[in-house]
């Protein structure tokens, strides 16, 4: 457990002399600060969500209702100045309900496209496992391609485009759990968890969260966010670090603890997320600590314990993985 707690603590050592870091991330930190005042006690999750967004990935939140999933999505959209849609998934939902439909207009005598809720910059897909596989795949395809195809016409989705999907892991009856191949489309999967006592007391005593969200002002322009997304790709990952990512992936592929190892795509995702994490941490280089910080979120839903092993949480899986692979 000490490993786990050390993983979740923020890296607080600031690098003063090396390297000189002119980091244009102050709006980012302002956003984290403001979000932390609404989503109480969840700074690590906020940072992860933000890292996911900066790495141009999508986020899957797996937890009970009422732990602040929706608020988190709302707050992020608001602070980053992005427009926000919510899709509540049900069993009778059709792909058209997400993407939109072309409706025949008798006056003009032509089809007119009515865009679905997916045409927004931040989308909260609630209880994605309630949607049928057909709707799920339509959504996930849109997430992957950043565009939708409807009635033979391809329409681009707005940029930045960030999907936060939630699923409730405990009530599985009548649901369609995401297949493993689809889970891979999400850069990260996180759990919100209950707030600690202090945070919960503050939550109960404080103002209504929805009002607070409404009163939030954006911390940055959409253009700035795209700039940051570009900066993520510039973060330096040294050879030693790439070797570390490789060693982690190798280990999962060889070890009997896992049913199947991390794919090359998963390794790429890990590096991408770590870059974003480093950027949030005001660094222009990736450290092993960054990899270790994002590993539970990035690898947790991609690794499965082999048959016979007890079902472990993604945090446990990541912790044993980290402890098993020495830094190269």
């Amino acid at each position: 457990m000490s490993l786990l707690s050390s993983l979740s603590t923020d890296c607080s050592i600031r690098l003063k002399s090396y390297p000189p870091t002119p980091m244009p991330t102050s709006p980012l930190h302002a956003a984290i600060h403001h979000a932390g005042r609404i989503v109480l006690g969840k700074e690590h999750q906020i940072r992860l969500a933000l890292a996911c967004l900066l790495a141009r990935g999508h986020l899957l939140i797996e937890d009970l209702p009422g732990v602040g999933k929706t608020i988190l999505a709302h707050v992020l959209a608001r602070l980053l100045g992005l427009n926000f849609h919510r899709i509540q998934c049900t069993a009778d939902m059709l792909p058209a309900d997400i993407i939109g439909v072309s409706i025949y207009d008798r006056n003009s005598g032509s089809f007119q496209f009515h865009p679905g809720p997916i045409f927004a910059q931040v989308i909260l897909v609630d209880e994605i496992n309630r949607a049928t596989p057909k709707s799920q795949s339509a959504l996930l395809e849109a997430m992957e391609e950043h565009q939708v195809t409807c009635e033979g016409e391809t329409r681009p989705l707005p940029e930045p485009f960030f999907v936060i999907a939630t699923q409730n892991p405990y009530h599985q009856i009548g649901t369609f759990p995401l297949p493993e191949s689809q889970l891979d489309r999400f850069l990260m999967r996180i759990e919100m968890g209950y707030p600690d006592q202090a945070a919960e007391r503050e939550l109960l005593a404080g103002a209504d969260r929805r009002d607070m969200v409404a009163s939030l002002n954006p911390c940055m322009e959409p253009g700035e966010l795209i700039e940051l997304q570009r900066a993520v790709r510039e973060v330096h990952a040294a050879e030693a670090l790439i070797a570390y990512v490789q060693a982690l992936a190798e280990y999962t592929r060889r070890s009997p603890e896992y049913e199947a190892g991390l794919s090359p795509r998963a390794a790429l995702a890990l590096l991408r997320a770590a870059r974003a994490w480093a950027l949030i941490d005001r660094r222009d280089l990736v450290l092993p600590e960054d990899i270790q910080a994002v590993l539970p979120a990035v690898a947790g839903h991609r690794l499965h314990a082999a048959s016979g092993a007890p079902n472990a949480s993604s945090a446990d899986i990541a912790a044993t993985l980290i402890a098993a692979v020495p830094l190269p």
Partner: protein, 315 residues
């Protein structure tokens, strides 16, 4: 027999499954000349006698050089195994009667390759492999399974005669690995008890959302998204698209519903066969064993859970 076995365990320091990675330290790599090595030594003896008898100074030199070669081989062969790291790899579950393949990882952390290493699980056949420099190699060790449940391979022998076949170096390791062996599916089992079980059912005519099944005339309460707009465009009346659900046939695989004269293993064998059939046909199925019940379900995970329950029944 008992004493010999325990002596061997003491001699080769075998104390049960070991924690990975297992490093073949110099204390656990043994070397002895092979038959060819003994023949080589005998040939050297003859050569020495020849050299002495004919006072061949170069004969001495040749004999001694070859004797040195024998000693050097000893170390080369030893070196071929020593410091090799072994870690257990993937083991896929198999059905009883099939060959289990125990994956082993050989990590060679040296700048020189290692060659012709043969590995063998007790009772299994031998597999030979090379371990290139600074790399990891996977080997699958085959072992034919007979009984369901967990199969532990026990002692693995690693041996090498590289480079000159004159010396054999070997070591025993006991990697912590096990293979889940499912019961052997019954060969000529009766068909799935679809009708026999009262709980089987479900329909193919219910409403659903998955597959398009036809059109009907539009009613005001219908969602506009279900309107067949293309038909409208062709000038037809408003029609509503109808869908059928993905509702599926359900079947319970019940231990207690089997004929009472069937033995335990035979029951498991039949249930395994049915489970395979049900999974292949895409049915929703549940498993009912005396000690355990797995509710109705579908999918790979569910399938594996059921197989695992069958394999480990009674453990």
């Amino acid at each position: 027999m008992q004493a010999a076995a325990s002596f061997k365990r003491w001699l080769f320091r075998l104390y049960g499954p070991e924690v990975a990675p297992i490093v073949l330290t110099q204390r656990r790599v043994y070397v002895l000349p092979t038959q060819a090595g003994l023949a080589f030594a005998a040939a050297l003896g003859f050569m020495l006698i020849g050299a002495i008898n004919y006072n061949l100074s170069l004969g001495y030199a040749l004999t001694f050089l070859l004797a040195g070669l024998g000693l050097v081989t000893l170390l080369h062969t030893f070196r071929n195994l020593v410091q090799l790291e072994i870690a257990p790899g993937h083991v896929e579950p198999v059905f009883a009667g099939d060959t289990a393949r125990f994956g082993l990882q050989l990590h060679n952390r040296r700048n020189q390759g290692r060659f012709a290493i043969s590995l063998q699980v007790e009772g299994g056949s031998t597999v030979a492999t090379d371990a290139p420099a600074n790399a990891s190699t996977s080997v699958d060790l085959p072992l034919v399974t007979h009984r369901r449940g967990w199969l532990r391979p026990g002692r693995v022998t690693l041996a090498s005669r590289f480079p000159l076949c004159l010396v054999r170096a070997w070591s025993y390791v006991e990697p912590d690995m096990r293979c889940l062996v499912y019961p052997r599916p019954e060969q000529s089992a009766p068909p799935l008890p679809l009708s026999a079980s009262g709980e089987s059912g479900g329909s193919r005519n219910g409403q659903g959302t998955e597959d398009f099944s036809g059109l009907r005339t539009h009613q005001p309460a219908d969602s506009p998204r279900h309107v067949a707009w293309k038909a409208v465009a062709r000038g037809q009346q408003l029609l509503t698209k109808q869908f059928t659900g993905a509702s599926t046939t359900q079947v319970w695989l019940d231990w207690n519903a089997l004929p009472p004269d069937l033995g335990a293993e035979a029951r498991l064998s039949r249930l395994t066969r049915w489970l395979l059939d049900a999974h292949a046909q895409g049915l929703a199925y549940g498993l009912r064993l005396p000690t355990r019940e797995i509710p109705l379900g579908q999918g790979a995970r569910h399938f594996q859970d059921c197989l695992e329950a069958l394999a480990l029944h009674g453990d």
